[in-house]
């Protein structure tokens, strides 16, 4: 039995396709506060609730670290777009469109923007645009991502 899916190889990505990914994720304190501190991000706006409620901050509560928003939306899209990837190539035009707070639920959508030859045998690069929306259907994230994906039969030599 294969460890990864059989419907997300390079040949399965068609330019213009748009996917709605099946799972959402509610952002909890451990996602934001945990990851912010795990990665040495010292910005208190992500982990000092007292400060945020009393300092006249733009948002009077802790705000989800944008790096966590990016990783969560890309993560929600990962099984469908990167499960059979050999390598993440890069990201571009990442925009955080509105703030995410504890208790918000994120959902991911993906559009296939393009496909091109890979730099390794039996691979191709897929160019995606990801969108993240919250529980009110408000856009919180958009950004492009390139991934090196196996073609069917990769490694079968």
């Amino acid at each position: 039995m294969a460890l990864t899916g059989t419907d997300n190889y390079f040949e399965d990505f068609t330019v213009g396709d748009v996917y709605r990914h099946a799972r959402g994720k509610t952002i909890m304190e451990y996602d934001n506060v945990g990851t912010t501190l795990q990665v040495m991000n010292t910005a208190e706006g992500h982990f000092n609730e007292h400060l945020m409620q009393n300092s006249g901050a733009i948002f009077p509560q802790r705000v989800n670290f944008g790096g966590v928003t990016i990783a969560t939306v890309v993560g929600l899209a990962m099984q469908d777009t990167g499960e059979n990837a050999l390598r993440e190539v890069g990201m571009d035009k990442i925009r955080l469109k509105s703030p995410v707070f504890h208790g918000d639920t994120l959902y991911a959508f993906t559009e296939v923007l393009g496909t091109e030859a890979g730099d390794e045998p039996d691979t191709g690069i897929v160019h995606f645009k990801h969108y993240g929306v919250n529980q009110d259907d408000k856009l919180v994230f958009e950004g492009e991502r390139r991934v090196l994906v196996k073609k069917r039969g990769w490694g079968a030599k």
Binding site: T35, T36, V39, M40, N41, I70, A71, G75, M78, Q79
Partner: protein, 160 residues
């Protein structure tokens, strides 16, 4: 003790304001961070990042890696985190990232460090009291090899 410690205390401030950034200025950021197996496993599972390269050692080895590959999103987040005190702790919201490239894989036990160059700054038209600063950040492994680079823009508070 006659004097209250709170009255006697001097704040040791952290973070920079908009005014200190000069285009071309380079910051070698503090600390560095060894990314260990627990970091990678926790981050990858919390973000539902389902590519077995990031959590199945046998699968990673079968794909020509010495062991589990650190999730690239964690490499990006860690390099970003190391830059925050110098760049955006005194700041406002993080707006976006452009031209991010992953240059080589990072493995569990590798140590990343970060460096940033100020690329652009301007006063925000929409947000009074804030400027927008853009930096080019590079992340390196323990062999001084580039692992990731990107441009980041942030709102940064103008000193009152």
């Amino acid at each position: 003790m006659s004097e209250d410690f709170r009255e006697k205390a001097r704040l040791i401030p952290k973070g920079n304001h908009y005014d200190v950034f000069e285009i071309g200025q380079v910051y070698e950021h503090h600390w560095g961070r060894t990314i260990n197996a627990g970091d990678n496993s926790l981050f990858t599972t919390l973000t539902l990042s389902y590519n077995p390269l990031y959590f199945n050692a046998e699968y990673a080895k079968a794909h020509d890696h010495p062991g589990i590959v650190v999730n690239p999103l964690l490499v990006f987040n860690t390099v970003f985190g190391l830059t925050v005190e110098d760049l955006s702790e005194g700041g406002g919201p993080f707006l976006g990232v452009d031209e991010l490239t992953y240059h080589r894989p990072v493995y569990e036990g590798d140590t990343v460090t970060a460096r940033s160059t100020v690329k652009d700054k301007r006063v925000s038209k929409n947000m009074k009291g804030f400027g927008i600063v853009t930096w080019h950040t590079e992340g390196f492994n323990q062999n001084s090899e580039l692992v990731v680079d990107y441009r980041r823009s942030n709102l940064v508070r103008i000193k009152k």
